[in-house]
C-alpha cells in the first residue's frame, strides 16, 4: 500500500491518502533515502513502532540495548557513510539517554535526525508518566529541535529536519512527536524535500575578493603551513584539498577529526596537531609565516595556550560556519564558505611551488620524534606490550584500509597517532566531547554505514565497560565488528595526568575488568586475550580473518604514557617528548 505514496505526489493532480502521523514519519525516511534506523521502543513511541512493522522491507531497524548506544550507532553510521544517521527513542528516559550522543554529534558536526516519542499533547506539562521537557533539555545540544503536536506538520517538519541536519555545518536535529500526533489520521499529499528556509543560510556565496587576498598571502609565503579538520570530509572536498596542497606545495597537518581526509602516506602529510600530536606540526605552528586553517575550529586541544599560538603568522581561515572565524584565533583573512567551493578557487590562484626546505624541517622534527618516542613505542625492547606496537601490527594487516573506530583516552590518542589511513571517512572517534563509551556502538553504526568495509573498534578497558551492553546488539544482528580492547588495567589518560601533574596520586583510576573473553562468549562472540609479543600478530590476524564479530583483548603496559604531549596551559612550542 505504502510504496505508491511517493510516486503519487508526482502526478499532476494532487491525490491525497489518509495515513497517520507515524506513517508520515516513515514515508519521510523512505523519501530521504534512509535505510537504517537505530532505536529502542517505549510507550510514547509505540504508534511509530507499530507503523514500522509494515515497513520492514524498506527500513532496517536495529534494536540497540540502550538509547545512548542507539545514538552513537547513528553517529557511526553518519560518519562512515556521509549520510544522515536516524535514531528512535521513547519519551522521558529514552530521550534523556540521547543527550550525551546529541552533545557529541553537536560538537563533532555529525548529521543526525532523532525522533523521540512524547506523551499526548493534552498531558504536556502535567508531569505525566515518562514526560520530560525534551525540547528544553536538548536545545543547547541540537542544531535544531521541534515538537510536533499535530500530524499534518510532520511531512514538512521532517523535510526541514533532514535539510538542516545535513546542510551547512552538519549537526543533530531532534523532533519530539506527541503520541496523539503519531496516531492522528490526516490527508497526506506526499513528501516534498526542503530546499530553503529563509532564516537559515547553509551555503554562503563565496566572496572572491577574500579568496584572492588569501591566495596573495600564500603566494608570498615562505613557510606556509596548512592545518585541516573534519570540514574537508564533511564538505566531501578531499580531492579539492589534495589538489590545493599539491599545487602550492604546502605541508599539511590534520586534527584528530581531520584524520583520513588525506592518506597517511601522502608526502605532504606531516602528521597530527594538538596535545598528543606530532612534534613538527606543533612546534612549527609557531614558526610558519602563513597558517592556513581549513575546516577546523582551533579547539583548545589543538592550540594549547592561545596567546602564544602562531602569533608570528598571518592566519587564513576557511570555514563554512561564520561564527568560527575569529572565535579563538584572530584571522588575517577569513574565507567563509564550503571548502568544496573555496578550495578550487584558491587552487586556481595560487602559484605552483615546492617548499622543499620548509617541508624538510617537518621531516627533521619527525626524525627526532621517531628517535625519542615513536621507535620505542612501535618497536619496544622490553617484555611489556605497548599500545603503539598493537597499532603497528594492525596496520601491517589492514594496510590502512579499515575503518578505525576509537573510544576516548590513551588508546584513542595512540590509535590516532599511529593508525594508517588510505581512505577518507576511516577515522571515527569522539573528538570534541571526548565521550567514553562511544566506540563500541559507533562501530556498530559504522558497519551499517559502510557494510563493505572492515570495521575495527579500538577501545580501552574503561570505555568498553561503559557501553558493553551493545554486545547484545552485535550478537542479535550478527554484526561483523572487530573489537580490540587495549587493556592497561587503568583509566590510563587520567592516570597519566595524575602521574605527571599530581605527584602520582592515583585517585580512583585503578579499574578492574571482567574476563572479556568469557563475557564475549556469553554473547556468542568469539575472542581471545593475549599478553605476549609472539602471540600478538597472529591474534590480530585471527581476528581479522574471522567471519563475523570477534573480541581481542591485548594486555598492554600498565603505566605507559602517551607522548609527545603539550601540557594543558602550555604553548604548542613547549611540547614534551618525554
Amino acid at each position: 500500500m505504502m510504496e505508491t505514496l511517493v510516486a503519487k505526489k508526482e502526478t499532476v493532480e494532487k491525490q491525497t491518502q489518509t495515513i497517520n502521523g507515524s506513517q508520515a514519519v516513515l514515508e519521510a525516511f523512505v523519501a530521504e533515502g534512509v535505510d537504517t534506523i537505530f532505536g529502542y521502543p517505549g510507550g510514547a513511541i509505540m504508534p511509530i513502532y507499530d507503523a514500522l512493522y509494515d515497513y520492514h522491507d524498506k527500513l532496517k531497524h536495529i534494536l540497540v540495548r540502550h538509547e545512548q548506544g542507539g545514538i552513537h550507532a547513528g553517529q557511526g553510521y553518519a560518519r562512515a557513510s556521509g549520510r544522515v544517521g536516524v535514531v528512535f527513542g521513547t519519551s522521558g528516559p529514552g530521550a534523556t539517554n540521547l543527550v550525551t550522543g546529541l552533545a557529541d554529534a553537536m560538537i563533532d558536526s555529525t548529521p543526525l535526525v532523532c525522533i523521540t516519542g512524547q506523551v499526548f499533547a493534552h498531558l504536556l506539562g502535567t508531569d505525566a508518566f515518562q514526560e520530560i521537557d525534551v525540547i528544553n533539555i536538548t536545545t543547547p545540544v541540537t542544531k535544531w529541535n521541534y515538537q510536533v503536536t499535530d500530524a499534518t506538520e510532520i511531512p514538512a517538519v521532517l523535510a526541514k529536519a533532514f535539510y538542516i541536519a545535513r546542510t551547512g555545518r552538519p549537526g543533530p536535529v531532534l523532533i519530539d512527536i506527541t503520541k496523539n500526533a503519531q496516531l492522528q489520521q490526516f490527508e497526506y499529499e506526499g513528501y516534498t524535500p526542503c530546499t530553503h528556509i529563509r532564516s537559515y543560510r547553509p551555503k554562503p556565496i563565496v566572496r572572491k575578493e577574500f579568496v584572492a587576498e588569501a591566495a596573495e598571502l600564500i603566494n608570498k609565503a615562505e613557510k606556509p603551513f596548512v592545518i585541516f579538520g573534519q570540514g574537508v570530509i564533511l564538505g566531501k572536498a578531499e580531492k579539492e584539498f589534495k589538489a590545493f596542497i599539491e599545487k602550492a606545495g604546502i605541508p599539511a597537518a590534520w586534527t584528530v577529526m581531520g584524520l583520513s581526509a588525506l592518506e597517511t602516506d601522502h608526502p605532504l602529510n606531516v602528521g597530527m596537531l594538538g596535545m598528543h600530536g606530532n612534534y613538527g606540526p606543533n612546534v612549527l605552528t609557531n614558526d610558519c609565516d602563513v597558517l592556513i586553517a581549513i575546516g577546523m575550529r582551533f579547539d583548545d586541544r589543538v592550540t594549547g595556550r592561545l596567546d602564544k599560538y602562531a602569533k608570528q603568522a598571518k592566519v587564513i581561515h576557511l570555514d563554512i560556519d561564520p561564527s568560527e572565524i575569529d572565535k579563538n584565533v584572530k584571522t588575517t583573512v577569513g574565507v567563509w564558505g564550503d571548502c568544496k567551493e573555496t578550495l578550487p578557487l584558491l587552487t586556481k590562484l595560487v602559484e605552483a611551488k615546492q617548499h622543499s626546505a620548509w617541508v624538510q624541517r617537518f621531516h627533521d622534527h619527525m626524525a627526532e620524534e621517531v628517535k625519542e618516542v615513536i621507535h620505542a613505542e612501535l618497536n619496544p625492547s622490553g617484555e611489556i606490550l605497548t599500545m603503539g606496537e598493537v597499532i603497528r601490527n594492525l596496520n601491517e594487516l589492514t594496510e590502512g584500509n579499515a575503518i578505525i573506530v576509537t573510544d576516548v583516552g590513551q588508546h584513542q590518542m595512540v590509535a590516532c597517532r599511529y593508525a594508517k589511513f588510505n581512505k577518507t571517512k576511516s577515522n571515527i572517534t569522539s573528538g570534541g566531547l571526548g565521550t567514553m563509551g562511544f566506540g563500541l556502538p559507533a562501530a556498530i553504526g559504522a558497519k551499517f554505514g559502510a557494510p563493505d568495509r572492515e570495521v575495527i573498534t579500538i577501545i580501552g578497558d574503561g570505555g568498553f565497560q561503559m557501553t558493553l551492553q551493545e554486545l547484545g546488539t552485535i550478537m542479535q544482528n550478527e554484526i561483523d565488528v572487530k573489537i580490540l580492547i587495549l587493556n592497561n588495567q587503568f583509566l590510563g589518560m587520567v592516570r597519566q595526568w595524575q602521574q605527571l601533574f599530581m605527584d602520582k596520586r592515583y585517585s580512583f583510576v585503578d579499574i578492574a575488568s571482567p574476563d572479556y573473553v568469557t563475557l564475549a562468549k556469553a554473547y556468542r562472540i568469539e575472542g581471545q586475550s593475549v599478553s605476549k609479543r609472539e602471540d600478538l600478530h597472529n591474534a590480530l590476524s585471527t581476528m581479522l580473518r574471522h567471519k563475523g564479530s570477534y573480541l581481542l583483548e591485548v594486555m598492554v603496559g600498565k603505566e605507559n604514557n602517551v607522548f609527545p604531549m603539550v601540557p594543558q596551559g602550555c604553548s604548542v612550542s613547549e611540547i614534551r617528548l618525554k
Binding site: H196, R198, S199, P204, I205, P322
Partner: protein, 196 residues
C-alpha cells in the same frame, strides 16, 4: 577595552522555544542579561529581540555570530549606546492621599515628565519613559512619599543607522541568493561595531 553596555537586536522567526535557545547563548557563558524584550518588528511575522548586556565587545561579537547561527534567527546586530535611540517604560504606584496633600509631589512628577495612568481614591499610577537614570531618578524622588510599587520594562531600541529589515527579508526569501547579495558583510569591517 572595558566592559560596556551593548544592545543586541535579533530578528527571528516567531517560534516557541527560540527564547530559550537565545537565552542559553548567554547563560552558557555566564553572562547576565540586563534586560530582554521581545516584540513584533517592522516586518509582519518577524520577531525582534532587544537584549542588553554588559560585556567586552570581543565577547559580544562572538555572541552575536553564535546567535545568528541559530536556524530560526535571521539576523543579529549589536550596538553601543551611541548608536541607538532607546527607551524604557516605568510605572510608579503612589498613595493618592500623599499626592493630594503634598503639592510638590505633583510638581516633581511633572518635572520628570510623568503622566497619570490611573487615579483611584486609594492610589495613583504614574508612568514615565526614558533612559534608566531618568526613571531611576523619579524612584529616588518618590521614595520619601511612600512609593507603593515600581516596575520598569525592558529596553526597546532603534538602531540609528538601520534601514529596517524589509530589504534583508526579501533577500532571505530568495531560494537562491543573487550574486549581488552580500551575506557575510561582517568580513568587510571586522572591527566595526555596527552589524556583523
Amino acid at each position: 577595552m572595558n566592559k560596556q553596555e551593548f544592545t543586541i537586536t535579533v530578528y527571528t522567526e516567531n517560534h516557541i522555544g527560540l527564547l530559550v535557545r537565545i537565552a542559553t547563548m548567554f547563560s552558557r557563558r555566564k553572562i547576565n542579561i540586563e534586560s530582554l524584550n521581545t516584540s513584533p518588528s517592522e516586518e509582519e511575522g518577524i520577531h525582534r529581540f532587544t537584549i542588553v548586556i554588559n560585556e567586552f565587545e570581543e565577547v559580544v561579537r562572538k555572541l552575536a555570530r553564535q546567535i545568528e547561527k541559530q536556524v530560526e534567527v535571521l539576523k543579529a546586530y549589536y550596538n553601543t549606546n551611541d548608536e541607538i535611540v532607546w527607551q524604557e517604560l516605568a510605572l510608579y504606584k503612589v498613595s493618592t492621599d500623599e499626592i493630594a496633600e503634598k503639592v510638590q509631589v505633583e510638581r516633581l512628577l511633572r518635572e520628570h515628565g510623568a503622566r497619570a495612568v490611573v487615579i483611584r481614591k486609594d492610589y495613583t499610577v504614574f508612568e514615565t519613559s526614558g533612559h534608566r537614570e531618568e526613571t531611576d531618578k523619579l524612584v529616588a524622588v518618590l521614595a520619601p512619599y511612600g512609593l507603593i510599587e515600581f516596575v520598569r520594562s525592558a529596553r526597546v531600541a532603534i538602531i540609528k543607522a538601520s534601514h529596517g529589515f524589509h530589504e534583508k527579508l526579501r533577500e532571505f526569501e530568495e531560494a537562491t541568493p543573487g550574486e549581488e547579495q552580500v551575506e557575510n558583510e561582517f568580513l568587510n569591517k571586522q572591527d566595526s561595531v555596527f552589524t556583523m
